[in-house]
Symmetry: C2
Subunit: 557 residues, 2 copies
């Protein structure tokens, strides 16, 4: 990858440069964390001209390694005020890699109200005025852009939520069928893209070819063996069969499923909104499991949902969405949950943040748990950008603040995702300490004997995740440091050991942590909210009681 | 003072104890900063049961020293997330001192929606249910409470804003005439009082006498000399003549008056809303200057404003209110500005925070600068608790967040008050570094030669202010450390030097800073927002360019 595209949205100029030496061994999350740390003034406003929105494929993007097409998007987060990398599937990373693009870095800020599309192709990067796309949803936006630029392009775009600078706004990414159903959801990156006046990035890889490994034979062998390993895992079979939503009933059973604004860990409607309910619906309506969000995926955890009329509704109906928009709102009607999810898809919103925000809003008396029609109305408020909608669209923390609520399931301002930390204590340690805030990736720990083991496991998991987010490998492949070392070495002609890969992850985490500190987030922001320690979680009556000094051990390498 | 009253609002029990030894030499702000630092878990939610609301008269309260009746109120701030002491006049501190009450500490949290009055008298402290006061404004609340408890009582109370947990909510304090026109305004302490379910604290000092100095003769002599010194100052004469609002035209002239959401430093309507305009109105309507907010005041900076019909409208129409609700909103109609101020008085709101919030909201297109009728409507939205009103009532930071605005005049989430730091560079250093956030007290520096002098001056000013906020002396008396040492020594029989007084201030600041760090506010929160460095302020084209490492020097003693 020999191009870094810098897009100055103040001057409306896109320039290309060869990647500087310091970026040579960086990709995806590691590259993003480096650019955030070294280029963004840490105390600058996240929606101001000094913030930068960075798009970077992983180091193995475009290769034949399984599931290697994850894309990283990052910026200073308007949700947390700290560093942010959000990871997404779809076809963009592979196309960027074929185009030789190591990173697209959007800087500056255009005149208020102006809107543009950035087109990246084999030779150039072009900024195209796109006022006609103002306020247009993700599905219509991608449909129009595919008509204009061909249906082979990959598209990254924001919906109305990003344009309205909602800090729950995502950046959507198109899947192989061109559907904007994958989201770099967390941290409000859609609001940053909105502040840059960029509605969409169209990636056209016509006339390119896939990058070749330096040592093709070895790379092929290792990829094959790794694929074999993935395919033989029980988890893979489960994901192919039911998608991530297949895990909902289990999490409800063990009591870790956020239910009614984190007031319980089990939901009586779990079978309706979990894998079983989805499978039953698919059987009657023609939806299906086992899709891929990107070419080369061997896990196939994506699903396609149809509506009552058998028409396509959404692709990628995930566990986290069904949990946070379903159980967390007391909703057991799958059609309503899917309708909410579809609206998030189209508006460009993080389903977890919105689910947590609406969850919190119950305490303000805006609706009753389970009142699907009223909850849909609240989602329409967001769509219309009413003041209430704008409040909810800012996420759980602002919603709680506006309504004077002190029980707020957030860490560093970002909503806790769909694993209750009172049941999954090790996961809670990760929520508290991960420099990305309470993310749902890289921190989930189901089993650990004691606090010391949880701390060690969380450290290792965060480090490994930072590494595969940099390689561009999907978390569902759960690659070891050794496998990553072999893949990267044979692809690039490096002599990397597992320790080199670990160091890549470690360096990323160190920069993320340092940026947070430089941005004003002191060590005491690495904490869970009080109520997880104070309120026993039914039905198993657990609380989160890890002493705070344990948190400080996690990211000490 | 031999009583510390602890009020547990969970159990609805008030208990009294002798002050522990560690509080013996502490009063006012020093006491509050100590209790916050040692008793409140720093990462707990400011509206949760672990926060504590502390009321403490200064060490010289109840004495015959001039202007010694300032009251300190404090808690973990729901606005800044850090430590907070807000200082207020009125008669409460003197009555608490006569009652021997060194501090009232409110803890816990009652059942949702319940509301109480706390009555403190000679022998006891009583929690009285007061559901009938729900939603009642400060003027009506104090009128009813004076009817019930006699018109000699002092009252601290919250209006609807505090009940709605708005983080711009103040705690009001009654003046000698029983008017709730003085406010412990900053930091959202009214929301903390609201979260504790305490509508008002009624302080009845019947049957008590003023505390006597240990060395009466010396104390009398020093008080007399200090009074003489204050009376001979030019500033005192100016304050008596025009109140603090008399300074508005000067600040506009030098270009430091926040105008139209901090977009200019001079306001063409300055004579209408400044001392001249107020004096003209007073001449025709019967309002007046030269009142006192507490007995024993020799500065007399308070004024009384009448409405068009010659009826009392508000007392204590301050510079900061006229600047932030007038010039900062482009309003030059004094009646409108006074009407806004009166609503803040009655709702229990910080005029600075609300002025800054409405200022920011202009960028969201909610009104045009100077559109008085529409701005009054926005204030009515706050009064009614509509969603928009609740957003504005949260202050400038949340208002900006909800509407996606990146130009936000706040430090640590608290609105910058009415001295533009681009003109008053030394003041800006104080805004950034003061552990209380961008406060209008203790940081104002008009003249300094260079950055080094500003840093040294700001340090000294913050330290001296922390000392006199602890002694209970009004900032308008600007006491030297030496005068404070002599007053405290002769009153208490201590052998304090100026250095001992300095150490009291220093210790308070150290605890405040430590609490902020423990609460997660890292050193990088001690900064001004970007736009003060980026946008030149008209008409003098200054920007704020102090290197950030200078900030870290300020509070290093």
């Amino acid at each position: 990858m020999n191009r870094v595209i810098r897009v100055n949205m103040t001057d409306l100029k896109a320039t290309q440069e060869k990647p500087p030496a310091e970026l040579a061994h960086l990709g995806g999350r590691a590259l993003i964390s480096h650019v955030i740390y070294s280029e963004i003034p840490p105390t600058s406003h996240p929606l101001g001209k000094k913030n930068k929105l960075i798009v970077a494929p992983g180091l193995l993007a475009g290769s034949t390694a399984p599931n290697s097409g994850r894309l990283s998007i990052g910026a200073k987060s308007p949700l947390t005020g700290g560093t942010k990398e959000a990871n997404v599937g779809g076809t963009a990373a592979q196309k960027l890699a074929r185009l030789g693009v190591k990173a697209v870095i959007m800087e500056g800020k255009p005149a208020k109200g102006s809107l543009y599309v950035l087109k990246v192709n084999k030779d150039s990067a072009e900024i195209i005025p796109a006022p006609q796309l103002a306020g247009v949803g993700n599905y219509e936006t991608t449909a129009r852009l595919r008509r204009a630029h061909g249906d082979k392009v990959a598209i990254l775009c924001i919906g109305p939520a990003g344009e309205m600078r909602m800090t729950a706004a995502s950046v959507a990414s198109t899947d192989p069928e061109g559907r904007p159903s994958r989201h770099a959801a967390r941290g409000g990156l859609g609001a940053v893209m909105g502040s840059k006046g960029v509605k969409a990035i169209v990636i056209d890889d016509a006339g390119t070819k896939a990058p070749a490994a330096r040592d093709k034979t070895t790379f092929r062998e290792i990829s094959k063996a790794f694929t074999q390993e993935i395919m033989e895992r029980k988890a893979t079979a489960l994901f192919s069969q039911f998608g991530t939503v297949g895990g909902l009933a289990y999490l409800s059973k063990i009591g870790a499923l956020p239910t009614r604004n984190f007031s319980a860990g089990s939901f009586e409607g779990d079978s309706k909104i979990g894998g079983k309910g989805v499978a039953e619906l698919n059987a009657t309506r023609g939806g299906s499991f086992g899709h891929v969000c990107m070419p080369g995926c061997v896990v196939r955890c994506s699903n396609v949902m149809h509506d009552k009329d058998g028409q396509f509704l959404t692709a990628g109906f995930e566990y986290e969405s069904s949990a946070m928009l379903g159980a967390n709102l007391g909703l057991d009607d799958l059609d309503t949950v899917m309708a909410l999810e579809k609206m998030c898809d189209d508006l460009g919103l993080d389903t977890m943040e919105v689910g947590a925000a609406i969850g919190v809003a119950q305490e303000a008396g805006l609706y009753a748990f389970g009142a699907g029609a009223r909850i849909l109305e609240l989602m329409r408020e967001i769509a219309q950008g009413t003041v209430l909608g704008r409040v909810l669209g800012q996420g759980a923390e602002v919603t709680a603040r506006v309504f004077g609520i002190s029980r707020v399931p957030t860490v560093k301002g970002q909503a806790v995702p769909a694993h209750d930390p009172r049941k999954e204590i090790g996961t809670g340690i990760g929520y508290a300490t991960n420099p990305q805030g309470a993310d749902h990736t890289g921190v989930i720990i189901f089993h650990a004997e004691d606090t010391a083991e949880m701390v060690a496991t969380s450290r290792q998991k965060q480090l490994t995740t930072a590494a595969y987010d940099s390689a561009g490998l999907c978390q569902m492949t759960d690659p070891s440091l050794e496998v990553m070392a072999k893949l990267l070495s044979s692809f690039y002609g490096w002599n990397w050991t597992a320790e080199d890969v670990a160091e890549m992850g470690r360096a990323a985490l160190r920069k993320e942590l340092a940026f947070n500190r430089n941005a004003g987030l002191g060590p005491a922001t690495d904490r869970l909210p009080d109520f997880f320690a104070e309120e026993a979680l039914s039905p198993y009556e657990g609380t989160f009681k890890v002493p705070t000094d344990e948190f400080e051990k996690v990211l000490k390498f």
